[in-house]
Symmetry: C2
Subunit: 358 residues, 2 copies
């Protein structure tokens, strides 16, 4: 087992990475606040792993609430069912909320923990690669609003994250690829070494080789933990983690939540960011082709849906990265080096949006 | 104008107290984050004061969202209308949310500010005495759930609080009394001097004498600011501010939100706390009579509704102060000195509950 520490002062916490961690009760139990536990999971993950997790809480007052699976259920209404479960079970401020699922479950359970009685302890057990390498680390929690993704939420840190590589065996191939998109992102924004490793090991990763998965999760979490520790409230560095995300959120919103997976939308968004970076003279055509090839090998889309540049820009305008009406984007100065900028000719953005759709 | 500072490190903020502060645009403008403002108010307060407040934001992009008045609307659903307004107006992370109203508006606007895009700046303009002396100070925000009051929320500090005594001229007498209940509370839990002042000046306060109001607000906020600064996350001292509140919340929930005003329920709850304290031998019968008399002079109830001890205890059991099934209460060691305890004979609580209802 690998243990990484996310250094956030008194809110610091460990990330445990390895195979078959769910069955090791002592890992999760040492992070409980009291004798009350509420596991939040969904109807896909619960039948597979809930029994194993509940067994770790034997002798405690442990309950579970099961939500429907899918980004379209990441709503205030579903969040309220978690509050209702906590209240019906008379959970006190000493309850520990445990997220068992992908990014949606992690975001919702974390936000519920942040808000229940104004904050109770929280543990992340991410069961998708995407959640393990990205959404479970960094403390972003929240739900969607019909007018924008992730618009309602809180910064709230877990007590620990348990990333069990064995649970990835049951992951849909499309979900695996969506997770790899975020691994590629870390390579592109700040880790040329990881990028080179991915170019050598992509087929092993797609085949779920355990060592390859562990390496990818460890280095992704390390990158994210470094960025988050440096900039917990996302004033500056943390924004770089959003490479491809302003484009990606627009794709997700424009197509309706759940049609495109988050990682798929980010993959297409990263190609858009690379394309625009090339138009600004920062990347070569070869660099862009290298990005597209790596994403293709990960079985990810490299083009967005045919929403049209005008609609895409409208959707991008509600993104959180917009300040005073200017669209700020994460672009690439080079492969392995990202910057945030609103200094680009809008006509180039139009060209990119027209070029990078099917 | 009096300026009090709430000392919370980098989250410190001033409370301004005085007459006709709403018309002084420079006070509120110096605390704005950017050029976007969203005022959250209700349909009782907005017709009276919204124009004055909006005039202070001339030249900026200022919008308003008006909620229905009343504790029964302090819900996740109403909170969502604030998010919808923020998103429809394309408000960015630089928006400042301004609460213009009583405690319900302050709690909801503050929680909306805490959650919108994971946190935007927030200013409190409380328009009831209760909100000026209590709920606007300390950073507690949130909404109710059908199964419990204030069960969903966040600790979130405003950039400033503007307590304008002139707006109290339009307050309903019942609302004024509800605010005085909390002023009396500060006297009972930690400020014998304020308690003595109240016994000398209660009629002036009820008659809305400006000097008396300023004195009451200043000393209430000073007490609350001291407690909050010492214990921002309510692990210990802050709990003392809940004198009468566990009883009071049970009354409010049992009668249905909005039937009893919060301050009225707290008044009856403080008599219960005093009565139980006397049964424990901490207060004399005269002390209890002194509490009841002061509340009566403030035109507040001194008895709870006839819910019965069993139902009251059931309602009290969902309160946030409950740990591992024990009901913890704020009681009085003496007038001017409160303690938190779960060390009492449950039979005495039954006697109190039977005694202190109509």
């Amino acid at each position: 087992m690998i243990t990484l520490d996310v250094a956030l002062g008194e809110r610091s916490y460990p990330i445990y990475i390895g195979a078959d961690l769910l069955g090791q009760a002592e890992i999760v139990r040492r992070h409980l606040a009291g004798r009350e536990v509420m596991v939040v999971s969904n109807d896909i993950v619960a039948p597979l792993y809930l029994d194993t997790v509940m067994a770790a809480f034997e002798g405690l007052r442990a309950e579970a609430v099961i939500l429907p699976d899918g980004e379209e259920y990441k709503t205030l209404a579903q969040l309220n069912t978690v509050f209702t479960a906590l209240l019906e079970k008379r959970c006190s401020r000493q309850v520990t909320v445990v997220a068992l699922g992908g990014g949606v479950i992690g975001d919702m359970a974390g936000f519920a923990a942040a808000c229940y009685q104004r904050g109770v302890p929280f543990i992340q057990i991410p069961t998708t690669l995407l959640a393990q390498v990205d959404s479970s680390v960094g403390g972003k929690t929240g739900v969607n609003h019909p007018l924008g993704k992730n618009m309602i939420g809180a910064f709230y840190q877990p007590r620990c994250v348990i990333a069990d590589t064995a649970v990835l065996d049951t992951l849909e191939p499309r979900q695996l690829s969506a997770g790899i998109a975020e691994v590629i992102k870390y390579g592109l924004i700040r880790d040329g070494e990881l990028l080179a490793w991915l170019e050598e090991n992509m087929e092993a990763l797609v085949a779920r080789d355990r060592d390859a998965l562990s390496h990818a999760i460890e280095h992704s979490c390390r990158n994210k933990a470094e960025v988050v520790a440096a900039d917990e409230l996302e004033h500056c560095q943390r924004a770089l983690l959003n490479l491809g995300h302003t484009f990606g959120h627009a794709i997700e919103t424009g197509m309706g939540y759940g049609r495109w997976l988050h990682g798929e939308a980010v993959a297409a968004g990263m190609v858009m960011a690379a394309d625009l970076s090339a138009r600004l003279g920062w990347l070569s055509g070869d660099d862009v082709a290298r990005v597209e090839k790596l994403l293709s090998r990960a079985k990810l889309p490299t083009r967005g849906p045919a929403l049209g540049p005008a609609r895409m820009k409208e959707l991008m305008a509600v993104d959180k990265k917009v300040q005073d009406g200017c669209i700020r984007l994460v672009l690439l100065r080079a492969l392995g080096e990202a910057v945030v900028t609103d200094q680009f000719d809008p006509a180039l953005l139009d060209q990119t949006l027209a070029q990078c759709q099917v």
